[in-house]
Symmetry: C2
Subunit: 345 residues, 2 copies
DNA sequence: CTGAAAGCGCTTACAG
DNA sequence: CTGAAAGCGCTTACAG
């Protein structure tokens, strides 16, 4: 395509030195103890500038074996786009931390067309270009995680994930705390019969459920209950709302914002009043997006922080500075909005 | 750190073939016309699987000279975070297109601490790891763009940017069209004296201004005017609003969403009614974020599309399939909301 | 102070 | 059908 880029050899020839010297000068390294003469140095710099030379990073990477590259791989489709505002704050945190530690960030989008998205495309690890990788996504392939772990490839999962036989690194919000706080709030308002609506049965949801149950137990109230309403992709909102209404619960803990909004919309359609007829809590960050929406009572996450800490942890792991499995719970905050109130019945 | 990863040589040894053969088999390439025997192939595959071998992409990149990597570099700080929802839709579009074309995406965050963010860190092109790069950001360094262009490094700017002596590639919304539509709308409502509030004087703003002026000229109304209210980082909202009110304009075209929200907030503080006292238009996508906010009259962008088209253009350029400068205007849509109405005076 | 050589892990003509 | 060699562009001990 373009005229070939100038190479180290060109600079060396022009400056009248060897390639090794060019490398030393440009990287400001003096390998033996004796420094290179100022006169030689300026000759090299001038030649580099004259040629518009910049070292080919690929050559450097190969020779040094260190790429200064943090990968991001997600098991979720990047699309549908509605998830952007959930996914991207993590990315911001990752970028920030990577930037501070002088790493670039590599998004492994390459095989994202293939369904499902896999790390071992053609049965080979496709993550090797990065020194280590941040993994995300609701439903990872545990076998892949196990294999990755056994191969010694450095990675950190955003979200708690248990892999048989391995203690993988993860960073995650303390969903358990958040769910417990939400449950206490509902108990204080006078609710006794709570519902929990959730989708997949992955660890983050288990943590939330555990938090709810613990708060109920700690509350030591007589006659409290927690009913589960499992949903999946085939669930119909109208039916789910009917089932919930018929169940006698007066308040609903929603696994995440998506469930929260999905139910909220349907309730409005059916004329169910929130919080009059039913109190509603989102166990992840939710926002009042439309002008006529209530401010949600929700557990506010700090995705930026989680992303940054995951990156810090990963870099430590890459550098061999992490001893033992890193499994971190980061704080989240319970925020009382307008979607919860005293029970009506 | 970890036990060293198995290398091509290990596979070759185990399978009892040469390194070249391993390469041929694993890449499913038959360089001469004669295929490699099935028996040899399975031996190689088995050895690779047994060792958990995956080719080191850095080696491949160096040998092939093609990295399948699209870079993203922005002159804007990634932070403050408020810009996330403006910046990220572009990213989504880039990712999508890169994914479809089997490219990975590299975020050049590495020197993002240094102020200002530069491509030529240590006077050397830091973008070389990617085959080509998408550039973004409000206030690029034109000298860098010129140098990049002259070196033949493939890049596409998101946003029109003129560089002396070069015809660089860019992809951009048709702001001119959007601004013209907004202006026509205001004229139809009966406004005659319009204001334009804008910050930097970069090309996108010039396009918007040109659109406004053209619509005014085409309207052929007597006694219309367009007043400019330039602002910068030191501008105080309260003062700007005072100046605007005193100026006699009845409608305001805001260069972007940030200006729109900044003025909107201040007007509410001062009790200026929108659109009663003043009609307000945002010339980029704006949303009603708070429950008691009006639906904005605005020009709706399609950042995802722009990101995707920029990526497509860049890849063509990288592959040498682009002939001549690529300078594309993509459609945007004018949306009438609640912040515009007939003038009061 | 500087140069020649080996090596990083791969691919690709070129011989056999 | 397969192997030996050169080359991608760099860095890093090692000699001088």
């Amino acid at each position: 395509l373009n005229a070939k880029r100038p190479t180290q050899k060109d600079v060396a020839r022009m400056a009248g030195v060897s390639r090794g010297t060019v490398s030393m000068v440009l990287n400001n390294r003096m390998n033996g103890r004796v420094p290179i003469s100022d006169e030689t140095r300026t000759r090299v710099f001038q030649a580099a500038a004259a040629l518009g030379y910049a070292p080919n990073p690929v050559g450097q990477m190969l020779a040094q074996g260190n790429n200064c590259l943090i990968g991001i791989f997600t098991y979720d489709p990047v699309f549908p786009y509605e998830q952007d505002d959930f996914y991207f704050p993590y990315l911001t945190g990752i970028q920030q931390e990577a930037s501070e530690q002088a790493y670039n960030v590599l998004l492994f989008t390459r095989n994202h067309g293939t369904e499902p998205h896999r790390i071992y495309a053609n049965s080979m690890n496709s993550l090797l270009l990065a020194d280590g990788c941040i993994l995300m996504g609701g439903m990872p392939d545990r076998d892949e995680l196990q294999r990755l772990y056994n191969e010694g490839y450095p990675f950190v999962y955003i979200g708690r994930r248990e892999v048989p036989g391995c203690q993988i690194d993860w960073v995650i919000h303390d969903y358990r705390y958040g769910a417990a706080a939400a449950t206490r709030h509902l108990l204080q308002l006078g609710h006794r019969h709570l519902g929990f609506v959730g989708g997949n049965g992955e660890e983050p949801q288990a943590d939330k459920l555990a938090g709810c149950r613990q708060a109920l137990a700690d509350g030591e109230m007589p006659e409290t209950s927690l009913q589960l309403f499992p949903i999946d992709k085939s669930s119909v909102a109208a039916q789910v709302v009917q089932v919930i209404l018929a169940s006698g619960v007066t308040a609903l803990l929603c696994d995440d914002r998506k469930v929260f909004e999905w139910l909220g919309r349907e309730m409005r359609v059916q004329g169910v009043r929130v919080p009059g007829d039913l109190s509603l809590v989102s166990l992840t960050t939710a926002e009042a997006r439309l002008p006529d929406m209530l401010a949600p009572t929700h557990v506010q996450l700090n995705q930026r922080l989680v992303g940054a800490v995951a990156t810090r942890t990963l870099i430590k792991r890459v550098l061999g500075e992490a001893d033992g499995p890193q499994q971190l719970y980061l704080p989240c905050k319970f925020v009382v909005g307008e979607t919860t109130g005293p029970p009506n019945r």
